[in-house]
């Protein structure tokens, strides 16, 4: 253009000058030529000034060309049980990456069979990678296991453009406590929006402890800024590693779970639907958290996760449901202790208060048990006498000293909730349900204010009706009784990072509204359940250990009754308290009580002295699949 311009100037002055002089020297043309040279140089300088000084896009482009930020993934925290047994660790896994620009002619068929993918999958993945970038690596195949990787690695040299990046997979040496531990999975968009720590493709705890302790377990990613050449080969760190950071490994979790007990509980519960929750009374530490049916946590890891997850969600027995916290049951007869304790505390009941029972002829609640009449509190608990507790309940709710039914009910409810019912414990147990202790306002709404009384809500006397509790809350009731009046919020993690770094918040003792003196009679009664001649769990007693327990049979409108049991042992200085629920199994004494007894023996003695009972439980199959 410059030359063009000059020529226009030159010719516009002496138009068609060449026609005039025949023998010109043309020496003046040297200046035109020099001007052409100089103008070219000037144009270049203007252009260079623009490129180099004014326009700064190119500096950014140069950085994105050369700088590659490599994220170094830290090891996720390990998870140990209360005795230091490793329950979860990271195993090396490999992501197959591809740089499309470097992929040469390869034998696609052989490659696909090596990776065990179809030709169309290969093409889809390649197109996706190409769309992202020709020169930057894309994820081609995620989470190849160690053994599979061995085969692939040998042949990698045949496939330029593909390389392997190491990641890690969760591994569960003991395939137990799947629901408690939870699982990790790739982050979704909302995870990324909530916390900018995550990048697409990262992993995050999706459930259980993996979710609750995500921030502690994940550690901190490291960053390595390296320079790469045009083929994406690393050429060393950028500015001597000034922008690099070292990954910080995740903190280990030390659980209160006893892995051995957990495994034994899962074994006992095989082919049954239900749950076992055991808690150490002195600390609130959950010793086992069994829900059944369960699944092997290793199934929800790596590439097999998708298909396994799908089949688990489609299972009619709902193995993904954690019944220990998400099962809402009426407490049944186990609730009789609660009514007894509230009655004792309020002074409407004494150890020697006696009521008559007319068996099946009793009104308004029948008695299903065959026992002497009249009877006192201890016998009533031991024999699980329904009419006795109806009388106790009525003497409280209908007591004129409270002013009204509603006020009496409010006092009753307050005592019940102080035992840990009707609300979440809000510790590290995820997806907890709060159960239900209906409020007085609820009954006002249903029956209209002033139109309900003890008779209206009589089911509460024997733990039926609107009242709902979770197995965890039931286990906690056993804890309160074992401790004679207090509990620590049940929790799963003892300490974080190191073995003795206890979590303070969980060491706060919570006192119930019941005085400790009222617990003696209840404990004695529960001991008689095992030791007494008519005790409902006498067939499950463990020689040498004083176990206190209470059966419950929960009416189930949908089918066979649920078998329920709460227990703690030993009576003096209790070490374990628990609840057992076996759905659709009939009386509490048939299944739930022996299971509790075996669990206590396993935990306290570490051996099983009653193989007959154990075999019966192990062989019991209570599942009839539709």
């Amino acid at each position: 253009m410059a030359v063009f311009f000059i020529l226009i100037l030159y010719h516009s002055l002496p138009l068609f000058r060449c026609n005039i002089g025949m023998k010109r020297n043309f020496g003046d043309r040297q200046y035109i030529i020099i001007i052409i040279f100089a103008l070219t140089g000037l144009i270049f300088l203007v252009r260079l000034f623009w490129l180099q000084v004014i326009d700064d896009r190119y500096i950014l482009s140069a950085e994105s060309n050369v700088l590659q930020k490599n994220i170094i993934y830290p090891n996720r925290g390990l998870i140990y049980d209360r005795n230091g047994i490793l329950m979860v660790y990271d195993e090396a896994a490999y992501d197959l990456m591809v740089v499309p620009g470097q992929v040469k002619e390869i034998d696609t068929a052989a490659f696909c069979s090596l990776l065990n993918i179809t030709d169309s999958v290969f093409r889809v993945k390649m197109n996706k990678a190409r769309k992202y970038s020709w020169y930057k690596p894309s994820l081609f195949l995620a989470q190849i296991g160690k053994e599979e990787f061995g085969f692939i690695e040998e042949k990698m040299y045949k496939y330029p453009g593909f390389f392997v990046q190491s990641r890690s997979l969760r591994k569960y040496p003991l395939p137990v406590a799947a629901h408690t531990l939870g699982y990790i999975g790739e982050v979704n968009n909302s995870d990324i929006e909530k916390d900018n720590y995550y990048r697409s493709g990262d992993y995050i705890g999706k459930s259980g402890l993996e979710k609750f302790y995500e921030k502690q377990l994940r550690g901190r990613k490291g960053l390595e800024v390296v320079m790469v050449d045009v083929h994406n080969r690393e050429q060393g760190s950028y500015r001597g590693g000034r922008y690099d950071s070292v990954p910080v490994p995740g903190k280990s979790l030390y659980l209160s779970i006893d892995a051995t007990l957990q495994a034994y509980g899962e074994l006992l519960m095989q082919n049954k639907i239900g749950s076992i929750v055991a808690i150490e009374p002195k600390t609130g530490e959950v010793l086992c958290f069994v829900t059944s049916p369960t699944y092997d946590p290793n199934l929800l890891v790596g590439r097999i996760r998708g298909s396994n997850y799908k089949s688990l969600t489609e299972d009619s027995l709902k193995p993904l449901l954690n019944r220990a916290i998400m099962g809402n049951y009426p407490p049944g007869s186990t609730f009789k202790m609660v009514n007894a304790l509230v009655g004792l505390q309020e002074g409407v009941l004494h150890e020697y208060t006696s009521y008559s029972c007319y068996g099946p002829a009793s009104s308004p609640i029948r008695c299903t048990h065959d026992h002497i009449s009249p009877l006192e509190l201890q016998e009533a608990i031991e024999q699980s006498c329904n009419p006795y507790f109806w009388n106790v309940y009525r003497s409280m709710i209908s007591n004129p000293t409270y002013g009204s039914t509603k006020e009496a009910y409010k006092v009753w409810r307050n005592h019940v909730m102080s035992l840990g019912f009707g609300a979440k414990f809000s510790t590290d147990i995820p997806f907890e349900l709060s159960g239900n202790i209906p409020s007085a306002e609820y009954y006002d709404k249903v029956y209209y204010e002033g139109h309900w009384n003890a008779l209206t809500i009589r089911s509460l006397a024997i733990g039926q009706g609107e009242i709902l509790v979770t197995p965890l809350q039931l286990a906690n009731l056993a804890v309160v009784i074992a401790n004679k009046g207090y509990y620590y919020p049940p929790h799963l993690v003892e300490s974080l990072g190191t073995k003795n770094n206890y979590i303070e918040a969980y060491n706060t003792r919570i006192n119930s509204t019941i005085d400790s003196s009222h617990f003696n009679v209840v404990q004695e009664a529960m001991l008689e359940v095992f030791e007494g001649d008519h005790g409902t769990a006498r067939w499950s007693k463990l020689p040498g250990v004083k176990i206190c327990g209470k059966t419950g049979t929960v009416q189930n409108p949908h089918g066979e009754d649920h078998s329920m049991f709460i227990a703690f042992a030993p009576k003096e200085n209790p070490k374990i308290a628990m609840s057992v629920i076996v759905e659709n199994s009939g009386y509490g004494s048939t299944w739930a009580a022996p299971i509790a007894s075996l669990m206590i023996e396993k935990y306290l003695n570490d051996t099983i002295s009653r193989p007959m009972i154990e075999n019966r439980i192990l062989n019991g199959n209570l599942i009839t699949k539709e």
């Binding site: 030159y10 060449c18 035109i32 030529i33 040279f37 896009r57 190119y58 060309n65 320079m227």
Partner: protein
């Protein structure tokens, strides 16, 4: 002894200084372009920087030989040298080796030679010899045709080798003809044709023809001079219209695919930064990221890590732009403009017409290389693979330019003895 001393005294040391500055800048930047931690020596002969040192050494030797040879030799043997080179160019078509799509190399052992680089000075010599005839007159058609032949024969042969870039260099000799009296109108015409070509690619053909028609009509109506020559104007208009109309055909069928793409990229019709536009895009990134002062010697990342292709040969300017920034680029451009101006100045002081014409040949060839090479790296010109004189890596190229320049310096050193 007396004569040798006079040669040294009469040499134009300014030009020689500029020559050495450029050669050394080239050598250092070739080193930077191929530098890696593992090969950090400037004298590593397995690398381009070390090899370039050999080429520099041999170039100095060749320069010395040229300075010793009698100045009259070059004018006397201009035609034989020209014919010899023409034969080599033919020979390479038959027995040459193909490198990167161009069959333009002779392979002698591990050493390859590109006759096209030597055709430049030979053609400049022959042209100077022809135009220095006493009775030359550019109004004669025979003069024009013969001059054109001298230029087009080697250019055509090089074109046959698929080395389009080197062939185009010969068009620069038009500047020599211009200096010696070729009508400016021809240059005008050439530029008009090129202008129409670009316009025709960018805009609708019918709009262009409409605008041309309007200009022609206006010229005839408004200007008395043009009105008298309305037939010529109409003829020019018809020719131009036909040309515009046929540009697409020529573009699609005569140019090769990669050439077409490079032109499209330059004109912004195509923006394929991974394909045809990759070189220029990366080259602009490298130069643009240099900033005012550059990233510093050996600290360039774009060229060193091979984002820019051909970084020690055709795209050597990227290294300079990246590592030395705008200041470095400014210095280099000023050195080139200084050298070119100096050559023109020296050419004009020659008493011998042969020396003067040859001098313009030297200037125009170096200028063409300079303009096209830097123009392409900063996206002002389509990518044409020709080296940056004295800077780019390559033996043939450095030898060729050294011979080209030093024959002229030899002529200049004896300018008082020549007529």
């Amino acid at each position: 002894m007396r004569e040798r001393k006079s040669i040294l005294q009469n040499l134009d040391w300014t030009t020689i200084l500029l020559y050495f500055l450029l050669v050394i800048i080239g050598w250092i930047n070739i080193h930077a372009a191929v530098y890696s931690e593992a090969h950090s020596s400037l004298f590593d002969f397995s690398h381009n920087s070390g090899k370039q040192l050999i080429w520099i050494g041999t170039s100095i030797l060749i320069a010395a030989v040229i300075l010793i040879i009698d100045a009259k030799f070059f004018s006397a043997f201009a035609y034989p040298i020209y014919i010899l080179i023409i034969m080599l160019l033919m020979g390479v078509l038959i027995g040459g080796k193909e490198i990167a799509g161009s069959k333009s190399w002779f392979q002698i052992g591990s050493f390859s030679l590109q006759p096209a680089e030597f055709a430049k000075f030979a053609t400049a010599l022959a042209l100077a010899r022809f135009l220095s005839k006493i009775d030359i007159n550019f109004r004669d058609w025979s003069t024009r045709i013969l001059a054109a032949f001298i230029i087009f024969i080697p250019a055509g042969l090089i074109l046959l080798q698929h080395d389009t870039g080197s062939a185009l260099v010969f068009s620069a000799l038009v500047l020599v003809l211009f200096r010696e009296g070729l009508s400016g109108k021809l240059l005008w015409l050439g530029l008009f044709v090129a202008f129409l070509f670009i316009i025709a690619l960018l805009f609708n053909k019918f709009i262009i023809i409409g605008v041309l028609a309007a200009i022609a009509v206006l010229a005839i109506v408004l200007n008395k001079y043009f009105r008298k020559r309305w037939l010529i104007i109409t003829g020019i208009f018809l020719l131009a219209s036909g040309y515009v109309y046929s540009v697409d055909y020529a573009f699609e069928n005569i140019l090769e695919d990669h050439q077409r793409k490079r032109i499209n990229v330059l004109l912004g019709i195509e923006t394929d930064i991974h394909g045809a536009g990759y070189n220029v895009h990366q080259s602009k990134i490298a130069i643009g990221s240099g900033g005012i002062t550059g990233k510093g010697f050996l600290n360039g990342t774009q060229t060193k890590f091979n984002f820019v292709p051909e970084q020690s040969t055709d795209f050597i300017f990227c290294t300079i732009g990246e590592e030395w920034g705008f200041i470095g680029s400014l210095v280099l451009i000023l050195l080139f403009i200084g050298l070119l101006t100096r050559i023109v100045f020296i050419a004009e002081r020659q008493r011998s017409k042969f020396s003067r014409i040859y001098g313009y040949g030297v200037a125009s060839i170096i200028f063409f290389h300079f303009a096209v090479n830097i123009g392409m790296t900063i996206g002002l010109f389509p990518v044409i693979g020709i080296p940056l004189p004295f800077i780019s890596y390559g033996g043939s190229s450095l030898w060729g330019f050294t011979i080209l320049l030093f024959i002229f310096l030899k002529q200049d050193s004896v300018r008082l003895e020549l007529l």
